[in-house]
């Protein structure tokens, strides 16, 4: 198990379990009652009776009467269309349950959710960014996925390791349909013109960036690699470069940060050196990294799998390839995902049962298999990653190869953590602060948040 396994110490687990039981005791009771209603066979033989596609035990759960649940996710045409097709299939397989699908713009996500919850409304099942789960758990907004239906052992056996980011204090709160990883995009024309191959390690990356960067006087025409700390650069350093350099950036219980260890400082210096030492990139070039790469003005660019889809639309003629992130002492990448959670609106009774069934359905192998080609996100289940259709997809394969060694950061305040890392890089490259002090500043800021977060869990 990696440091990203969310299992906390036994004491911590007990604490959260006690709280959880107190909070959701009623929910569990309702669940047990529902299982009894479903009949002795279902209650006793639940494990083997699970349907082939899902691996979870929701088949044993039955709603007592017609029930409607609200499913909320942000507006992304490809996703909303697919879910609109899936809902009738789910309803046909689960008579008595109706799912109301609500969409809203991504930018309004948290405002919409907050406004609805404050008004006593809102979703029963919510599609949420994994990094918001810890805060939502702290706010007692989410209900843990019941262990008897979604056993942690099954989740961890079937899913890629980054799924543990959905686990807080020993309980899983969400399951993803699909995940994303980071990889290195390279411009084939620019690398070809310079006579270099896509890099596989740190040194080669510097060499390729140097060979491809092109200036006209003092102005860059082509940057060797994009400088995009506020985009994916902060993730690249935080989860990939540090780990590649032998650092485990968090303690196993997610309570302590180790960014300022020498390996972290060295990784930070490596990334900063593209700008400060090698002069192969520029801050603000073409406004941001993805724009520069899409315009064919950047040779290398680190980005997520979702960029494949947007490049297909924004730069259909761009001749580019993708390789896994260049490795160092070891290999590592950053992962992120959107996952389906149950909110406290559906904490008990038929709504809880219906919500569990819907989450089980959305994360089933059958749905994941349809998801990847339609959305461009990667399957979250290990079983699907070996499928020829995906392995042979030139654009997706590097991301899929990265799945086993991709890590999702434990985030208690996503926006501020990102800002802390951006500020650290700005302090070094703009203000000339030494790297160690800059990282210590950022680390202290995020550590304070972690301390405050865990303090609320007693």
């Amino acid at each position: 198990m990696t440091a990203h396994d969310r299992d906390t110490t036994p004491r911590a687990s007990q604490r959260i379990d006690r709280r959880t039981i107190l909070r959701y005791g009623a929910a569990s009771a309702g669940l047990a009652a529902a299982a009894r209603v479903a009949g002795p066979t279902a209650a006793q033989d639940a494990t083997p009776a699970a349907p082939a596609a899902s691996g979870f035990n929701t088949a044993a759960l039955q709603v007592s009467g017609p029930v409607e649940i609200e499913y909320w996710q942000y507006e992304l045409t490809a996703k909303t269309q697919l879910v609109n097709e899936l809902i009738p299939e789910f309803q046909a397989a689960n008579p008595g349950i109706t799912v109301k699908h609500v969409n809203f713009p991504y930018d309004d996500f948290r405002q919409q959710v907050a406004a609805a919850v404050q008004a006593g409304e809102g979703p029963d099942v919510l599609n949420v960014y994994y990094g918001w789960i810890p805060a939502y758990v702290q706010q007692q907004f989410l209900v843990p996925l019941p262990e008897d239906v979604f056993p942690a052992a099954t989740i961890e056996a079937d899913y890629f390791p980054m799924v543990t980011a959905a686990k807080v204090g020993g309980s899983y709160y969400a399951l993803p349909t699909a995940v994303r990883t980071l990889a290195l995009f390279y411009n084939r024309d620019l690398l070809g013109a310079a006579g270099v191959q896509p890099p596989t390690n740190w040194e080669e990356t510097v060499a390729v960036a140097k060979a491809t960067a092109r200036k006209n006087g003092d102005n860059f025409e082509v940057v060797g690699i994009t400088w995009d700390i506020g985009g994916q650069g902060h993730n690249w350093w935080r989860e990939a470069l540090t780990r590649q350099n032998g650092l485990v950036p968090y303690s196993e219980d997610n309570r302590t940060l180790y960014w300022s260890n020498p390996e972290g400082v060295e990784a930070f210096n490596y990334l900063a050196s593209f700008l400060t030492e090698h002069g192969v990139t520029q801050s603000g070039f073409q406004t941001d990294g993805p724009t520069a790469f899409a315009a064919g003005s950047a040779a290398l660019h680190v980005d997520g799998s979702y960029r494949v889809g947007s490049l297909a639309i924004d730069a259909p003629d761009l001749n580019y390839g993708i390789v896994p992130l260049p490795a160092h002492k070891t290999q590592a990448s950053f992962a992120s995902f959107w996952a389906n959670t149950i909110t406290r609106n559906a904490a008990e009774g038929d709504k809880l049962i219906a919500s569990q069934k819907f989450i089980d359905f959305l994360s089933s192998e059958a749905v994941q298999r349809r998801w990847t080609p339609r959305i461009g996100e990667l399957p979250a289940r290990q079983a699907l990653a070996a499928e020829p259709e995906l392995v042979n997809n030139e654009k997706l394969a590097p991301f899929i190869q990265s799945l086993p060694f991709s890590y999702a950061t434990f985030l208690v305040n996503e926006a501020d953590l990102r800002q802390a890392v951006i500020d650290a890089f700005d302090q070094v490259v703009l203000n000339g602060l030494d790297t160690e002090s800059a990282i210590q500043e950022a680390q202290a800021r995020v550590q304070t948040q972690l301390d405050e977060y865990w303090a609320t869990f007693g």
Binding site: Q140, G230, G284, T287, A415, N431
Partner: protein, 296 residues
Amino acid sequence: MTLERRRWVWAYAFIAIPLLFFLSIRIGPTLFAFWVSLHQWDPIAIERPYVGFDNFAALSDDPVFWKALRNTWIYVLIGVPVSLVVSLVIALGLQRLTRYVGFYRVLYFAPYVTSLVAVGWVWRWMYMPNGIFNDVLGWTGLGPFNFLGTPDTAIYAIIATTIWQALGFQIIIFLAGLESVPPVYHEAAAIDGASGWQQFRDVTLPLLNPTLVFLVITGVISNLQVFTQVRAMSSQGTGGPLNSTISIVLYVYQQAFQALPSKMGYASAMTVVLFLMILVITVFQLKVLSRNNNDY
């Protein structure tokens, strides 16, 4: 009912509807923000405990808030005077034009009716290291400058955009003010031998005072509330680099809507501070700046 009484009833009936709207859409939420500022207010949390003035106390210890406050005053103290001088100069020029007057007025007014976000992005492209400004500077051998990426220059780059965008509105108001100056005063001053500058200083400017007061007050308020340009133009939209461009309203937005968990109470405390600041300044400006006007 007497005729006078009936009139009175009708007058209040007509006033009542906008008053109701104003109370519920403007005054109500403002008072509610005062209430929220006294709580640890997270819309999603089950409890929102009363914390008294803790949020205000925390503000005084928050270096980012002080930075935002300082930046906001830079937006006001540089943005307002410069834009007023530039727009007055252009308005005086436009007033003298006799041909294509409409064309020029449309030209100068166009930025004002353009979306601030669109303006911000276009300027962002012009400011970038390989943008048009640096291309021009490159001919003279200067640069390239990363205008928006350098803490020392970023805020002034944003102020320049704000000024450019606000010019149209101020020019139109100034033109209206200039039109209202009766030509006889200028003729009389000219007969008395006043030079152009003397006429401007002693006739035009004093008579423009109501216009100036209006533009100063609206300019100060809109600069105290600066948000959109900073969000659209600063690196990553976060008021960077290193908080060098962050404004109070942007910080309010970040704390209320981007922080997790949402610090709605803390953000409301900032809006209360901003509200009091605007109130005091506006009352002060009305008293001081309008006083001259009463002499005429």
